[in-house]
Amino acid sequence: MSPEPAGEESPDRLYTVTGGRGGTDESSLDSVALIVAESEPAADMQSEHADILRLCLRPIAVVELSAELGLPVSVVRILLVDLLDTGAVTVRHHVPSTPQEGPRHDPDTLKQVLLALQRL
């Protein structure tokens, strides 16, 4: 199935934000990987990096960062790789997923999800 393009958008702004980097290991950052700040924003930091550090004082998912920053998920992933490299943030959650089999979930996780839903 070949996708139709939805429209064209100039990636220049994205290019500027990420300094033209990319292609490292950001693809391993799941959309719900939880990011936590390990240090304070520094004065000489790129503003997007500082914004991320302020948003992840408490754990926050990659998609939530993306929504709060108004930046596409793929751009946030690249910015996060920079912060991971310097240890300014850490990842709390790594999704164990094998596309063909689907992720495995222990019975306790499913039971707790069920209880949480029943409380809704």
Binding site: G7, V113, L114
Partner: protein, 208 residues
Amino acid sequence: MPSNASERNTPAPGRTPLAATIGNALKIVIVGGFGVGKTTMVGAVSEMRPLSTEEVMTQAGAEIDDLRGVRDKRTTTAAFDFGRITVDATRVLYLFGAPGQKRFWFLWEQLFIGSLGAVVLVDTTRVEDSWYAIDRLEHHGTPFIVAVNRFGPGPDLERVRGALDLSNDVPLLECDARRRESGRDVLITLVHHLASMERARSVLKETP
């Protein structure tokens, strides 16, 4: 919303940060054709105001892996929305509403990765919009259930099952995406389904 938005540890006004103890995130995806009520369902069950974000894709549908290369390529921006439900002190469940327009369907598979399972929302006046979702979920091996969002009178569930060529193993139920209890029941049905699949899997493993 907290009365004092400048309170420490409140990074942005209006945000509802997760508890500091949360260390594990789970994901469920809601898919279906254009306008079937995916966003409505996410909003009905989410503990926070649903958020919207976007993913930039290359024309080929692959996720951007080299932004330098992308300068010369046509890119596509697909919006999707999500909400969340805190499970317990350490776990949170994110709910994704996949974009329904046909030209964004290629994004779905990326959303399936790492998800617990999926809900296929069906509008009985446009059942054929769900075929693609079911096909991709089966292909990807992502467990799913089907929920019929009733906008008005329509065929009963057995007819819908027939029209979707849905195996009897896949739970099928009615819902009203606008109602929290209804969205909750859909998610509970999915989790029961996941639990029974896990049980079947472990039985298979134990059988020599």
